[in-house]
Amino acid sequence: MTETVTAEPAQAEPLLEVRDLRKWFPIKGGMLRRTTGHVKAVDGVSLTVAKGETLAVVGESGCGKSTTGRTILRLEEPTGGTVVFRHPELGPVDLATADRRTMRQVRPRMQIIFQDPFASLDSRMTVGRLIAEPLVINGVLKGQPLRDRVAELLTMVGLRPEHASRYPHAFSGGQRQRIGIARAIALDPDLIICDEPVSALDVSVQAQVINLLEDLQERLGLTYVFISHDLSVVEHIADRVAVMYVGRVVEIGTTKELFYRPKHPYTEALLSALPQPDPRNRTEVVPLTGDVPSPANPPSGCYFHTRCPYAQPVCSEETPPLRTLPAEDGSSTGTVRQAACHFAEELDLKGAVVPSPVVGGGTDEPFAPVGPRPGSAARTDGVAS
């Protein structure tokens, strides 16, 4: 999957092109409920997503990553900017200004998977009805073909066709997330926004769901926008990563480049804060001081200057634009590397710590595989009965 994806997107037309997207929520105050200010949840985000790739959006809570996802799907009305989605029949459509009829045609092509599998499923509908719902609403199928399709979808996500008659409460968190995924792929979409799909799950179940998402991407040619705050999950699943801070993208690059050669001090801080699962590699991180600034009242200049260890006087005065950086070795072809920092070229930032490489064997190797390995198939979830 990675080979075909990373080699081609430069030539191919992007599936999704977001330009200067803004979503401001008004703050109402006073007796007349007049708007006294705005929470700039998303403030000028530009992204392109190529067909078949996974773009991860990472950042701390409140940085606007979920709002970005929801605004792309127009679950929130954008305040400004354009969201161009390449529809297979209609061609490029600007979702930000599209009328209702166009949206109805575009919506089946874009789906979303939510974080909390306990809150996102109607507990009074059977699993079969839940999965059939998108097919019924769009009038795609009915009767026996519909039941067959539901059974097929259940099998695809690693559940059993007879589960269709049960209610969500009978399923574990991981299985519910599979139901959510079945709903999302029911209409055979092009784009799926995954909004923290594994954050609420246990580590072992997390691995099952991640494997399922990767497997489905390969089989159905899906494109993912993967919103997450877990950098180790992102490193595993994403082709490219966008880092957000207070409503803005501060850095974009391929996963490798961004993790090992970060160009923005905030990316460096996020990477260094990640606890390493290796007790022989204890890092006394210098944690970021202070908290994320409020998007209602952001600081001047670069939003990160209040917490940045490399801040200079210019950082509090001028806002650094997200600019394309020259390729470091000239070898990178077409992959765009962008960072919003005045000193992106000068700073020598530390990337992710790679745990001691697994070489040789013996008991010193962390997680030495012993005995028969469990199969890599993700669809082995048992049944809670």
Binding site: P275, V358, R373, P374, G382
Partner: protein
């Protein structure tokens, strides 16, 4: 279990032996803890890991005697040894006439399971000797009182009746946990603080009576990585300065590797493996521990290969699994012996105390391995 129940290190603050907790519900009996035994050494950080529903939090709540209805301790002991020698420990009991005489154990500790949850002796331990911080700081702080007054409450209850002194001590605690402008924070309400600040306030409250043991139940799970790093370095600092023991419940293997000295791995209400943190990561013995470690995505390691998964899911809490509780999901399943016989804890050779409950290391298991393959599942 029996292999180490008699031996107790002198420098142990809490030793739990064969603890069983049941929840009797209308749908049946849930055995949340099924014979849990472990020690918490003085001045060390012990990590408890496992998937949700494995009994991590129930263990913590049993030590604090705050198990929710209808749960109750049906068997076992929790021996608590206070700092400053055994005389001080027994003092707690003589102050409380209602405490049963058998609560004082042979080795001079207090058996917490013998105390009434509402007794004066238990109240003197809870908060002052053993403190706890919870996962979600917003739900554990009272929204209608200021942060300062909530910390003062604990100090007034356990330490001093002087209100002015308590107020100052509260501000001091807030400063110790790294709050900027502690006077102002003491006057603010929980909703005015961010998630990381609230968790700091919780830690300040728990630390205000200088407990000998701090139980932290997933204190960083709800926080961002940057805030998590702040809280972890704070806990490391407090541990070094005050020398208290920490029982750290988490499901993040990264946090365990960075913070803990010893690790207890739980599965379905049982301790399946316990060892030093280095042994757990570099020489894991139990198949469950190995699978758990392999299923976490690690930077620079996986490179788009599918993650290893533990097959199946945790069984329904009302059903009881025979033999080894992990056998339906185990990659190293040996056959009938795993299905029928509960494995005893095998102590493994090595410089540290390393125990695993698995038939790979028991005599029965070895016999089954040697037997012809026909008898194996």
């Amino acid at each position: 279990m029996t292999t180490h129940s008699s031996a107790r290190d002198d420098d142990t603050i809490v030793s739990v032996r064969d603890l069983q907790v049941e929840f009797r519900t209308t749908l049946g009996v849930v055995r949340a803890l099924n014979g849990v035994s472990f020690d918490i050494p003085r001045g060390k950080v012990v990590g408890i890991v496992g998937e949700s529903g494995c009994g991590k939090s129930v263990t913590a709540r049993a030590i604090m005697q705050i198990i929710e209805h209808p749960g109750r301790i049906t068997n076992g002991s929790i021996e608590f040894h206070r700092q400053g020698g055994d005389v001080a420990t027994s003092q707690l009991l003589t102050d409380d006439e209602s405490a049963p005489a058998d609560a004082l154990t042979a080795s001079g500790g207090i058996d917490i399971t013998r105390l009434d949850p509402r007794s004066a002796a238990m109240r003197a331990i809870r908060g002052a000797e053993i403190a706890m911080i919870f996962q979600e700081p917003m739900t554990s702080l009272n929204p209608v009182y200021t942060v300062g007054s909530q910390i003062e409450e604990a100090i007034l209850l356990h330490q001093t009746p002087d209100k002015e002194k308590a107020r100052q001590q509260a501000v001091d605690m807030l400063r110790q946990v790294g709050m900027p402008n502690p006077e102002r924070i003491a006057r603010s309400y929980p909703h005015e603080l961010s998630g990381g600040m609230r968790q700091r306030a919780m830690i300040a409250m728990a630390m205000s009576c200088h407990p000998a043991l701090l139980i932290a139940d997933e204190p960083t799970t709800a926080l961002d990585v940057t805030t998590e790093a702040q809280i972890l370095s704070l806990m490391r600092k407090l541990k070094a300065e005050i020398g208290m023991s920490i029982m750290f419940i988490t499901h993040s293997m990264g946090v365990v590797a960075q913070l803990c000295d010893e690790v207890i791995v739980m599965y379905l209400g049982q301790v399946v493996e316990r060892a030093s943190v280095d042994e757990i990561f570099y020489n894991p013995k139990h198949p469950y521990t190995r699978s758990l470690l392999r299923s976490i995505p690690r930077i620079g390691m996986t490179e788009h290969a599918p993650l290893e998964v533990i097959k199946g899911s945790i069984p329904d809490p009302y059903t009881r699994v025979t033999g080894c509780s992990f056998h339906p999901r185990c990659p190293d399943y040996l056959g009938d012996v795993c299905r029928d016989v509960i494995p005893a804890e095998a102590l493994l050779a090595g410089p540290t105390r390393h125990g695993a409950k698995c038939h790979l290391y028991t005599d029965e298991g070895r016999a089954a391995l040697a037997a012809p393959a026909a008898t194996r599942g």
